[in-house]
């Protein structure tokens, strides 16, 4: 299995732990991720002009060399998906192509890494690689942009793919009413107060579910729920202390990787209790 790989900006910064775990886990599974050369930012949610934003993603999609384009980030994924749909309009495509050296034909399929695992590899294949069934309870948190506004693999209202992945690793997904509710990430910088209110609801509900961790698929959700968890605790004078784990880290733990090989020591919320429960060392 081979994909063109679009890592996105966060992998070089706040989501370095995600990157470490992706490299480890995908390497072991024999899924080749060929990084796009000289890739550019997708514009996240902060390039207001639609044509420019579509152009940024068109340049990325044009570099796929006939492969499907995998990405680890929900924001990048949603932008690639939206651009892909928008670029089926040949007028827009022609206009955007004026700016591109490598013209885009409109035929690349964007895929989130979760989709690559759940759909392309298949969970039975993943289960074969499980050395240490996890025996923990985990919150499957999808966030917004993995399934909305569009995706090719799961329901936008009640997605199940991450739940199923958790099961195949030997863990138990808890029922979580907020699995697709917004964490507030996109407004963190400009409206932190409101962003923390949204995160608080998610974290309190996750804590009450009795889960050992929250599993995420997006660097922005991770930043908001892990790195900003302390800010939520002090704003509302509550104790959460709940590890937030990328799904690739959860896979790595079940596949028998050492937590250090998965970047778990780089989280702001300590992960040692979770690792101890799984029976690993940190």
């Amino acid at each position: 299995m081979k994909y063109s790989y679009y890592p996105g900006c966060a992998q070089h910064g706040t989501a370095v732990d995600y990157r470490i775990s992706v490299e480890a886990v995908f390497g072991r599974l024999g899924i080749e991720l060929e990084e796009v050369k000289n890739w550019n930012c997708c514009g996240a949610l902060h390039v207001p002009d639609r044509t420019v934003k579509t152009g940024l993603s068109a340049r990325t999609l044009a570099s796929a060399k006939g492969l499907d384009m995998a990405t680890p980030c929900n924001l990048c994924y949603s932008n690639l998906m939206r651009a892909q749909t928008a670029l089926q309009d040949s007028t827009l495509r022609t206009r955007v192509n004026e700016a591109l050296t490598e013209k885009y034909d409109g035929n690349t399929k964007p895929k989130h890494l979760l989709e690559v695992i759940v759909k392309d590899l298949g969970l039975p294949k993943l289960a074969e690689q499980v050395k240490k069934p996890l025996k923990i309870k985990a919150v499957p948190y999808y966030g917004c942009l993995l399934t909305r506004p569009e995706n090719n693999f799961d329901s936008p209202e009640n997605p199940k793919s991450l739940d199923d992945l958790i099961v195949s690793l030997g863990a138990e997904p808890v029922k979580y009413y907020y699995k697709t509710k917004c964490c507030g990430g996109p407004i963190l910088i400009t409206n932190e107060d409101l962003a923390l209110n949204l995160s608080k609801e998610l974290l309190v509900m996750a804590k009450e579910s009795g889960a050992d961790c929250v599993v995420v698929t997006c660097p922005m959700c991770h930043l908001q729920l892990d790195a900003k968890q302390k800010a939520v605790e002090s704003k509302f004078n509550i104790k959460i202390d709940l590890p937030i784990i990328y799904f690739t880290q959860l896979m790595g733990l079940a596949m028998g990787f050492d937590p250090k090989e998965l970047g778990l020591s780089r989280h702001l919320v300590p992960t040692d209790k979770l690792i101890a429960k799984i029976g690993g060392k940190q």
Binding site: G13, W39, R50, L56, A99, C182, G184
Partner: protein, 226 residues
């Protein structure tokens, strides 16, 4: 809350038509005001107008109220409303469409500033290094200094590198950003203005003199900005 009556002079059909002509505009007239967007929105309680109200206001052409409301900036872009709308209207994309129009009208707030910083960082470097983004933005928003301890914590974990992540060359990005200079809203805006002017000259006498004058002022303002 006491609702103020909407006076004919506060309705701007040029603005309405400008929005209706964009890629999200087509379905806006079909809104049935069911409110599923407002009910799905995680932040509608903080908005000046809920997404449902905003759609209606666009239909009515309430330009000033729409563009100066916090609604379009507070939207977290979660798309809950968009996937649920029974009419296939995409309120999230409507908010996105209204942002450049608001900026072109001279609306400045911290969100617009951040978007501006973000765009310029990408245009120049091709990638969004968090450290560069935050430090640039902090220059326009001094209150960001409060985030310093958080930044240091992130640095200690190796999550906020000081080195700037750059593409090998950003030549193509300049061309992509140039696409925006003749962007969707601006092109269509001009087309509509021109059409309106023709219409105006056709039926001069029908309009109240003051309204025509206001319209002309509006046209001049937009032209001057180009």
């Amino acid at each position: 809350m006491k609702k103020e009556p909407i006076l004919p002079e506060s309705r701007d059909t040029t603005f309405r038509d400008q929005v209706l002509k964009t890629h999200v505009g087509e379905k806006i007239p079909t809104c049935i005001q069911c409110g599923i967007c407002a009910g799905s929105c995680p932040v509608s309680h903080e908005m000046d107008y809920s997404p449902r109200e905003l759609v209606r206001m666009v239909q009515l052409g309430l330009k000033k109220e729409v563009l100066s409301s916090n609604t379009i900036w507070i939207c977290t872009t979660c798309f809950s409303c968009s996937v649920r709308c029974p009419r296939g209207i995409h309120p999230t994309e409507l908010m996105e469409t209204l942002k450049p129009i608001a900026i072109a009208e001279g609306i400045i707030n911290k969100n617009a500033k951040f978007d501006n910083v973000f765009s310029s960082v990408i245009k120049n470097n091709g990638r969004a290094s968090e450290f560069l983004l935050i430090s640039r933005y902090s220059m326009t928003e001094p209150r960001m200094i409060k985030q310093l301890p958080f930044g240091l914590e992130m640095m200690a974990k190796g999550k906020l590198p000081l080195s700037i992540d750059r593409m090998e060359n950003t030549r193509e990005l300049e061309a992509i950003f140039k696409l925006g200079e003749k962007g969707e809203s601006k092109i269509e805006n001009k087309e509509i203005k021109e059409k309106d002017r023709e219409k105006d000259s056709d039926k001069e006498k029908e309009k109240e003199p003051q309204e025509t004058k206001m319209q002309e002022n509006e046209n001049e303002k937009v032209e001057a900005k180009k």
